[in-house]
């Protein structure tokens, strides 16, 4: 990144001349197989999703052209629109909690980075990233059940009054699902931010300390700005995880109770394969894909903006 663009082209140009033939047909032969798989199993389905979204179709019989009516339904049907709102609410738990908590934890770990405890922590905190989300869903469903460990712990500290079946309660189901996501993503964010912190020049901190800055001041004026890129990555990954969540919700609540934890991914699954409303499912799928890109791109630009 730091190397000026000119330096690259200096040793690129002669190669380009030597390998002229390879920039055409031969080069294309190298890309072709990858592109073929991508086109058949990703690009074509995307195009088909768009096509289906303009029709009313039960998946078996003939289809009827309905134009943009399915999109209208996505934004006016309460259940469908609610799934989108829920996905955005999940962002608070999937993104804000892991990033903010991750920053705090990483900043604290950094001070004892060399100790054996910190090394063990690196391994342990990573475990949720490695196991299937389905297993995380099953484990947490049980922890959050009315006789689960969470309630046991709450009673232990004298909060027996608030115990409940967290995933079965209309008021707490969505936050409870969100906390499962936060559990999965916290370790990843912490380690990403830690890796970023280790790249910050220690001289910056020394200079700040000489100027009399306290730990909080250091954190706000040096740590956070230097981690701009890492924070952007954490936010992107977690926002996408929230908007496109499926596995955890499918296992822990199946969208219930009522519609309180329904997310677009699960709604698409039900619409297409249980209700046989392929058109509506596809319209929601298009909206979801566009939303994900619309959220991911600005965050990337924001990160690249001041990045040297």
């Amino acid at each position: 990144m730091t190397r000026p663009a000119g330096a690259r082209s200096v040793h690129r140009r002669p190669v380009a001349r030597k390998l002229r033939g390879t920039r055409g047909l031969v080069g294309w032969l190298f890309v072709a197989p990858a592109f073929a798989f991508y086109a058949v199993f990703v690009l074509r389905p995307i195009a088909l999703t768009f096509q289906y979204s303009l029709y009313e179709w039960d998946g078996i019989g003939p289809s009827t052209w309905v134009g943009a009516a399915n999109y209208g339904r996505v934004f006016t049907d309460r259940d469908l629109f609610e799934s989108l709102v829920n996905a955005f609410q999940l962002i608070v738990f999937f993104s804000a909690v892991p990033v903010v908590l991750g920053l705090a934890v990483a900043a604290t770990i950094r001070r004892i980075a060399a100790s054996r405890l910190a090394l063990v922590a690196r391994t342990v905190l990573f475990l949720p990233q490695v196991i299937p989300l389905v297993a995380a869903g099953i484990a947490w469903s049980w922890l959050l059940a009315s006789t689960g460990v969470v309630n046991q712990l709450l009673s232990l500290v004298g909060l027996g009054g608030v115990t409940r079946a967290w995933l079965g309660d209309f008021a707490t189901a969505l936050p409870a699902v969100g906390m499962i996501g936060a559990w999965v993503l916290l370790g990843l964010c912490t380690l990403l931010l830690l890796a970023g912190m280790s790249k910050i020049d220690p001289a910056l901190y020394e200079a700040a300390r000489l100027d009399g800055a306290g730990p909080w001041r250091e954190f706000v004026s040096i740590t956070i700005p230097s981690l701009r890129q890492e924070i952007a990555v954490c936010v992107t990954v977690t926002v996408i995880a929230a908007l496109a969540s499926f596995d955890i919700v499918y296992i822990s609540t199946q969208g219930g109770p009522g519609n309180t934890t329904m997310v677009p991914g699960l709604q698409i699954f039900y619409l297409a394969f249980a209700d046989r409303e392929v058109g509506t499912a596809s319209a929601l799928a298009m909206v979801l894909m566009i939303l994900v890109i619309a959220c991911a791109l600005p965050i990337q630009w924001f990160a690249k903006d001041n990045n040297r």
């Binding site: 001070r111 299937p132 916290l186």
Partner: protein, 274 residues
């Protein structure tokens, strides 16, 4: 001012607390799995008479042997091909700089953030028309396509930084493009390929959506998809479900602990680049 001593101890405490929260679900699964089958154990309580046999029963009930075989076959189908195709395309776009490579690259990158739910409906009909529903190919082929954006992106990032002189001298010695790729560039790309392999393995093994939509028979699914079916079947028998979940997450856990350092590095780099 906070003394360094106190700082270090709050740090340790926070760390221990975080690890406890991370491990809690695993501990809970383990303890619950030891309770008599069919009971509803309350919270975390060590059973009077630990039922180690539950693991054996879950192993049989979940047909673990079959599942391991199925997941392994799927991984073997997806990962090597994805690596090969991704590396070739990354080489052509990043190093050979094919004409139109930029456009292709942007097209691939757009797929990086694609939620699988977005294309699952047409994918189902497409796989059905290909006559592949309920076979492992229904998971393998789409996954290769879905992994192309990341594989190409990842390998291109590696090849873009390879100096051009390398290829130049090989060409002087009369190597053709395939030899150049196979003999010179692939060996140099081994670290990047290894990281990619680890990530693809993990993503394949844990793939859930494609498995439950495209394959009905749990023994032809990925581990993750089979666990979904296992929950449907044994969802009311909590100890058995816990034992089954632990068994099903053991393989990834083992692989993770063995290749720990590579894993963490690959996942961190993977998300940084992705």
């Amino acid at each position: 001012m906070i003394t360094p001593w106190r700082e270090a101890w709050t740090g340790r405490l926070l760390l221990v607390l975080m690890m406890a929260i991370t491990l809690l679900p695993f501990v809970s699964l383990f303890v619950t799995a030891l309770h008599p089958s069919g009971t509803y154990p309350a919270g975390l309580a060590w059973p009077d008479d630990p039922q180690w046999g539950n693991f054996l029963r879950a192993f049989e009930a979940a047909e673990m042997g079959e599942l391991l075989k199925s997941s392994t076959l799927i991984v073997l189908g997806v990962v090597p091909i994805s690596i090969l195709l991704g590396t070739m395309a990354g080489f052509a776009i990043g190093h050979l700089r094919v004409i139109g490579g930029r456009v292709l690259f942007v097209l691939f990158v757009l797929g990086l953030t694609l939620p699988y739910e977005g294309i699952i409906t047409p994918l189902y009909y497409q796989i059905r028309d290909m006559g592949l529903l309920n076979t492992r190919w229904a998971i393998i082929l789409p996954l290769i396509g879905l992994f192309m954006p990341f594989s190409v992106f990842w390998m291109r990032a590696h090849f873009v930084n390879m100096p051009g002189e390398l290829s130049e001298s090989a060409r002087m010695d009369g190597a053709n493009v395939w030899q150049l790729f196979r003999r010179i560039h692939v060996p140099l790309a081994v670290p990047a390929i290894a990281s990619l392999g680890i990530l693809l393995f993990l993503w394949t093994w844990n793939q859930f959506l494609l498995a439950i939509v495209l394959v009905d028979d749990p023994t032809k699914r990925t581990m993750s998809g089979a666990l979904g079916a296992f929950q449907g079947q044994w969802g009311t028998n909590i100890p058995l479900l816990s034992a089954g979940s632990l068994l099903i997450l053991t393989p990834t856990l083992l692989v993770f602990l063995i290749f720990q350092r590579h894993f963490v590095k690959a996942l961190l780099q993977g998300s940084l680049k992705g």
